[in-house]
């Protein structure tokens, strides 16, 4: 499987996700610099977490205008799986590949801790192995927002990938870490080949992490 990880100035989970991909998928991904202009022949493009451009102005805004994003968008349109994690999710939203907006956490502070998420659409290439999983979040702006209409459309079209929940799978305010509408933790595009998610599967990918639920995302793609 040929995989690519896009690296922006300020990305800081690029190595982490590459390590996880190598362990789980079995081959080292190719790291693609933001100034490059093309990615050809990929089976998976990952837009990793971090603070691209320092998260200055608005998370993901400046990265979404980088030269490489044109190629990411072209690939996404062709149907290549694209996974955006955390800052990567913010970048995919800013680039228009995914809908909605990610606003400041309702607590107004950065949150780093484990959360539990429930797979809402378990039929996509990314989610066919997971049900309820635990993995860490680490973000300042993960508060998903979309208009009522948009949410309705996304629901009808099964674009909601993950929702924050408790151990029993109940989706409620207590299990919502950041104020996201409908506890949304991850969404898909219309064609379901683009996934953006706030939790970090690469940080729940080996035994030393204390939990390995994150592996399912990559195993699902392998399937």
């Amino acid at each position: 499987m040929k995989t690519h990880v896009v690296v922006f100035p300020g990305s800081n989970c690029d190595r982490d996700v590459a390590v996880a991909i190598e362990k789980i998928i079995g081959s080292l991904p190719k790291m693609v610099w933001h100034k490059d202009t093309s990615i050809d022949q990929s089976d998976l493009i990952v837009v990793p977490g971090g603070f691209s451009y320092g998260d200055y102005l608005r998370c993901g805004a400046m990265a979404s205008t980088s030269p490489i994003m044109k190629s990411v968008i072209e690939n996404a349109i062709k149907g290549v799986p694209v996974l955006g994690i955390c800052n990567g999710f913010q970048i995919l939203i800013e680039s228009g590949l995914l809908q909605g907006a990610l606003m400041r956490n309702s607590s107004l502070s950065f949150i780093c801790r484990d959360v539990i998420i429930k797979t809402t659409n378990s039929k996509s290439i990314f989610t066919n192995k997971s049900k309820i999983s635990k993995m860490p979040i680490a973000h300042n702006e993960g508060n998903f927002f979309a208009s009522d209409d948009q949410i309705k459309k996304m629901e009808d079209n099964e674009q909601i990938a993950f929702q924050y929940c408790n151990e029993n799978g109940d989706i409620n305010d207590e299990s919502n870490p950041n104020g996201s509408i409908k506890n949304i933790a991850g969404i898909l595009n219309q064609n379901k080949n683009v996934l953006g998610m706030m939790p970090h599967p690469e940080r729940a990918a080996e035994n030393i992490h204390g939990c390995e639920d994150g592996k399912t995302i990559f195993e699902s793609i392998l399937n």
């Binding site: 102005l57 608005r58 805004a61 205008t65 800013e94 909605g100 606003m103 400041r104 107004l108 927002f145």
Partner: protein, 80 residues
């Protein structure tokens, strides 16, 4: 020319930062404060002579980068 750009959250978007500020102000004794909203203020020097061109360019900057139109509104003023 100097461009002054204001970027504010749309009316129907919740502004948690604004409400925290409002609460803090109240606890400092400013009881007559209502409805605080926080936005961004960007100033930039733009070379050129024509105000209309500059305004057009700034609008474009907002659409392309500075504002997120899903949740934000913007306004541009040019001073020369």
């Amino acid at each position: 020319m100097l461009a002054k750009i204001h970027i504010t959250l749309k009316k129907d978007v919740l502004d948690p930062q604004g409400s925290v500020i409002a609460n803090s102000l109240k606890s400092l004794g400013f009881d007559n404060v209502r409805d605080v909203r926080q936005g961004k203020f960007i100033e930039l020097e733009i070379e050129g002579k024509d105000r209309d061109t500059a305004t057009k360019q700034c609008n474009e900057m907002c659409e392309k980068l500075l504002a997120n139109l899903v949740i934000e509104d913007y306004s541009v003023e040019i001073e020369s």
